[in-house]
């Protein structure tokens, strides 16, 4: 992940009309935006669209940027977050229900592959599975903020910007979400025959997001 200061310098030059700097900014930031969108949408194509739209919004907004006091990374996440929500809304219009994060096949496949590298024991593999199940059992808002912090690697300030709340609120919400996640993991581990719910990362199910 590129440093925020470096990104902001690139952005400053981009805002002055330097296309080459914007090109570099895309290289440094686009993968983060893609992952952010991909965790929350159902396909790579949709995530591609969100990346493209986000950068077009950035470019178009370079003159009249609404929030000059936040980093370009936070701003980009904020735009991507709203684009994701707009897609959820479109999904809702189609089926009267919010589109939920697909537990995409590709992730599951990669996760299975990496299991041999990263999860060397059956216990560890089960633990990863339990954590994901627990995550899915949390209220959507808790899931979202935990994923922002743990998977999207967003700073507190960035999360605060995306959620439009003070940093203190982010800290308290995260603390509550972590406690709740811990509780849910414990519950799952106590379940005698394992879980019966949805497993994030399982292609046959979906993961809840707000």
């Amino acid at each position: 992940m590129a440093g925020g200061k470096y990104l902001d310098e690139l952005w400053a030059r981009s805002a002055a009309g330097d296309v080459e700097s914007f090109n570099t900014l895309f290289d440094e930031l686009s993968a983060d935006i893609f992952r952010f969108a991909r965790y929350r949408l159902t396909s790579d194509s949709e995530a591609d669209d969100v990346v493209a739209e986000t950068f077009l919004y950035l470019w178009k907004g370079r003159v009249e940027r609404p929030d000059n006091d936040v980093s370009v990374r936070a701003w980009a996440f904020g735009i991507a977050s709203n684009l994701v929500k707009r897609r959820w809304r479109s999904g809702a219009r189609a089926d009267r229900a919010l589109t939920r994060l697909s537990a995409f096949t590709e992730i599951e496949r990669i996760s299975a592959d990496e299991a041999s590298d990263l999860v060397s024991s059956i216990e560890s593999r089960a633990r990863v599975r339990n954590v994901r199940i627990a995550l899915d059992r949390l209220p959507p808002a808790m899931t979202d903020i935990l994923v922002m912090r743990a998977w999207d690697e967003m700073e507190y300030g960035e999360i605060a910007y995306v959620l439009d709340c003070p940093i203190g609120t982010v800290r308290s919400r995260l603390a509550r979400a972590r406690d709740r996640l811990k509780t849910e993991i414990s519950k799952i581990e106590r379940e005698p025959n394992g879980h019966t719910g949805h497993v994030p990362g399982d292609s046959s199910n979906t993961m809840r997001f707000p």
């Binding site: 919004y57 992730i107 935990l146």
Partner: protein, 415 residues
């Protein structure tokens, strides 16, 4: 292990191929190098579409990426429309479908329309009946919202004129005399355990009787879940000291609050619709000066009106195909049936929460002065209505910006 670290360890690995990344980058950089797209009625930027096509023309198996190229080209145009709602004028929200008809400029872009749903843009859409109806529905929802808000403000004005409130505000309280000359910090410390002057509790009990049983009906809510119409009510005497309240107030001294000074000076204060984080609801602060029979100021009464009823008004008009969305003049999302109101309270004006058509309607409403109209975009037909001036309800003789809202009713053009 800490639960957050466990979660990190459980993160799915996402692979974004360099080919795919390069492709998206190419689309973006092509767009920003191109002249500004001028209108949604134009076909997707044919140049970028051609570039995208060319970049994959030697790879006929990659149909998914070709499809993505066309979609991204369209999205680029759409994005440029919504950003700030200012790059494209109100005229782009086409009054009739015939205005947005565009001629296909080549075979490739014609094919692209299959992917992005542009087919309808080349067809005449009969909006002569549906368009005015959508605009009329938007007006009805808007009227209900405005009437409701007006009634609530009148409630507060009526409360300020009750003999109970006036007498309580005009009474002499020994504690008030004891704290004369003390700093706010000292006063707050002294009243930390009980932040009211009326120790008998009669004033608070009277306020509770005013709002008792007033709840917001939920169309699909469970019994007992209805939120109160008024989040809280309290009033102060002329120095800003709280006399009675329906619940715990954060401070005993309110004279340093903007709403208090504005109400004392101007007679009434109406705040912007804002999202109350602690209560999790939209609310509008309303404060009214308490005057005696001769018009002499005695104090201020203040309440917060819960704005979640706007969602209920919107739900009444939503159908399987038609959605209702409301936005405050300051850009706060008030209701959105498409998402079951999941994003209420968020800023819809500076970020792309609104659909393209809604964004253009927002722009049109703000710029052309019409209070109600309709227009088409792609396959949707959107009617809208606004308060007299989107920036103001022009409430009574209140000076300055006041709450206003815009309502959109959106659905398929052919229905």
């Amino acid at each position: 292990m800490d639960s957050l670290n466990e979660l990190r360890a459980a993160r799915p690995r996402i692979a974004w191929s360099s080919t795919r990344q390069s492709h998206v980058k190419e689309i973006v950089m092509t767009q920003i190098d191109s002249p500004e797209p001028k209108a949604p009625s134009a076909r997707p930027q044919s140049n970028s579409t051609r570039v995208a096509e060319n970049s994959y023309q030697n790879n006929p198996d990659d149909r998914d990426r070709r499809s993505s190229s066309r979609r991204l080209a369209f999205l680029a145009v759409a994005a440029s429309i919504v950003v700030g709602f200012g790059l494209v004028g109100a005229s782009t929200f086409n009054r009739t479908a015939s205005n947005q008809t565009a001629q296909p400029d080549n075979e490739q872009t014609d094919t692209a329309s299959d992917d992005v749903g542009l087919d309808s843009s080349t067809a005449e859409i009969d909006d002569t009946a549906t368009g005015p109806r959508r605009a009329e529905q938007a007006e009805v929802v808007l009227g209900k919202m405005s009437d409701y808000f007006d009634e609530r403000v009148n409630d507060v004005i009526d409360w300020s004129r009750t003999s109970e409130i006036r007498q309580a505000a005009d009474a002499n309280y020994p504690q008030a005399e004891e704290i004369q000359g003390m700093s706010i910090v000292e006063i707050e410390s002294r009243f930390a355990s009980n932040k009211t002057l009326d120790l008998s509790g009669q004033s608070s009990a009277f306020l509770l009787s005013l709002i008792e049983g007033q709840t917001i009906p939920r169309l699909n809510g469970e019994p007992g879940e209805e939120p109160p119409v008024y989040a809280e009510v309290f009033f102060t005497e002329k120095n800003g000291y709280v006399i009675g309240a329906t619940g715990d107030t954060s401070d005993f001294v309110q004279s340093d609050e903007e709403w208090w000074t504005v109400a004392m000076n101007d007679g009434i204060f109406i705040g912007n619709l804002d999202f109350d984080e602690s209560a999790g609801v939209l609310a509008i602060d309303v404060a009214v000066r308490i005057d005696d029979e001769n018009g002499q100021p005695l104090g201020v009464i203040k309440t917060s009106i819960d704005g979640s009823i706007f969602a209920s008004f919107a739900d009444e008009f939503a159908t399987e195909d038609v959605d209702v969305l409301a936005v405050s003049a300051t850009g706060v999302l008030l209701a959105d049936t498409a998402s079951d109101h999941q994003f209420v309270g968020q800023d819809a004006s500076m970020q792309p929460i609104l659909d393209v058509a809604q964004g253009m309607a927002f722009n049109a409403a703000k710029s052309d002065g019409k209070r109600s109209d309709f227009g088409t975009f792609e396959k949707s037909l959107t009617g809208y209505a606004t308060t007299p001036d989107p920036r103001s309800l022009q409430y009574r003789d209140v000076v300055g910006e006041q709450p206003g809202w815009l309502v959109f009713v959106e659905g398929p053009a052919e229905s």
